[in-house]
Symmetry: C2
Subunit: 197 residues, 2 copies
DNA sequence: CCTGTTTTAGCACAGTTGTGCTACAACGTG
DNA sequence: CACGTTGTAGCACAACTGTGCTAAAACAGG
């Protein structure tokens, strides 16, 4: 018994998923056909289908990959333990596409989120991500008003979560109408107000 | 010279656009093919193409129709002049899909907004709508802190706008994770905080 | 070398896509 | 009625879609 595996399967999958992301970021989800993805990845159709049995599987993998990357980035942040406002700003800034790369990534995420409304497998990935982000927001809220009653915490969590996603959405949709500084300032303003009352 | 027009062209266009909305709401933008739209509208392909020379034209018309309807609804609201919190809640609630019909409408809007990232004609419609909503938010902000300096007004406008769009997005994406009451309560909380400081 | 497995390549097929086009039915006006 | 415009119907076409499939190349172990 032997196993002649001479390619890194995971790396190949990532290569393909990244080609998919480039296409979706540039021309939308409709541009992500199997043939075009294979082309963009520098592979043949047959080779691509060796790693993903169907297009659906590939799309789901791509969305999972983005989710995992965001998770990793947040995991690896080191936050100043003595400055809640700065820590929260750093943390939540990670959820808003401030630079070019993150914007492309977020655009792909948005496109896949859109399709998740009609694709259960994608919906599951999105829901997991939603839960993560909501927990993150709750954590932040507790830094600022940890002694408040549960109902208040819940409300402020939803408020912060909505603000973050709204800022991210606007940043993606109107990249020229906003600046990094303005977004961060808005975030900071909200956090300070949260502490204030 | 005579003009035998025996059908209401605008009504026909709306009929087609509404069929499009139903399809997009149910199965996403990818399901909105010319043939399926014609079927859903109860027309033939040829007839449809008599009212819209291309699919693109139809899609743009559909997005414009939604934008105009939202505008009209907001225009027709009568707001209590003596209660800013109630007035603002009424106004902004119109931007968040609280009932079934608005949710479907908003899902279509989201799908079209997504495509607007790669379709200039759609992008124009979206930008107009963005401007409208931003003005609306600014108006509301001025009710609460009209005496603040411009920079503050601008920041609070962006904050409110992001909150509203975030709430709308969450409502559309996770219809079961939120209730109408919770959304309205969050909105009210924000407005009261706006007045508070 | 040979054997067995993995990987690559790409054709085949049936189905769908948007749009161009022609033919005819429906209708108000003269 | 007949003319001319408007509306409807749907075929034709080339392009593209996802997936099934076969065949061969690349490689590791014997």
């Amino acid at each position: 018994m032997y196993m002649p595996r001479y390619v890194d399967e995971t790396a190949r999958r990532r290569l393909i998923a990244e080609a998919t992301m480039r296409l979706v970021a540039a021309d939308g989800l409709q541009a992500a056909s199997v043939r075009r993805i294979a082309d963009e990845a520098g592979l043949s159709m047959g080779s691509l289908r060796h790693y993903f049995r169907s297009q659906d599987e590939l799309i789901v993998y791509t969305m999972r990959l983005i989710r995992d990357r965001v998770r990793d980035r947040i995991q690896k942040l080191d936050l100043p333990p003595d400055d809640p406002v700065a820590a929260a700003t750093t943390l939540l800034s990670e959820l808003i596409p401030l630079d070019r790369d993150r914007m492309a990534e977020f655009e792909v995420w948005l496109a896949l989120s859109g399709r998740s409304l009609v694709n259960p497998a994608l919906a599951e990935v999105r829901e997991q991500s939603d839960t993560d982000i909501r927990r993150l927001c709750e954590r932040v809220v507790r830094w600022f008003c940890g002694d408040a009653e549960d109902e208040r915490i819940r409300l402020e969590t939803e408020r912060l979560y909505a603000l973050v996603d709204g800022l991210a959405l606007h940043r993606a949709m109107q990249p020229d109408a906003t600046t990094t500084e303005a977004v961060v300032a808005t975030l900071r303003r909200h956090l300070e107000a949260l502490r204030g009352d």
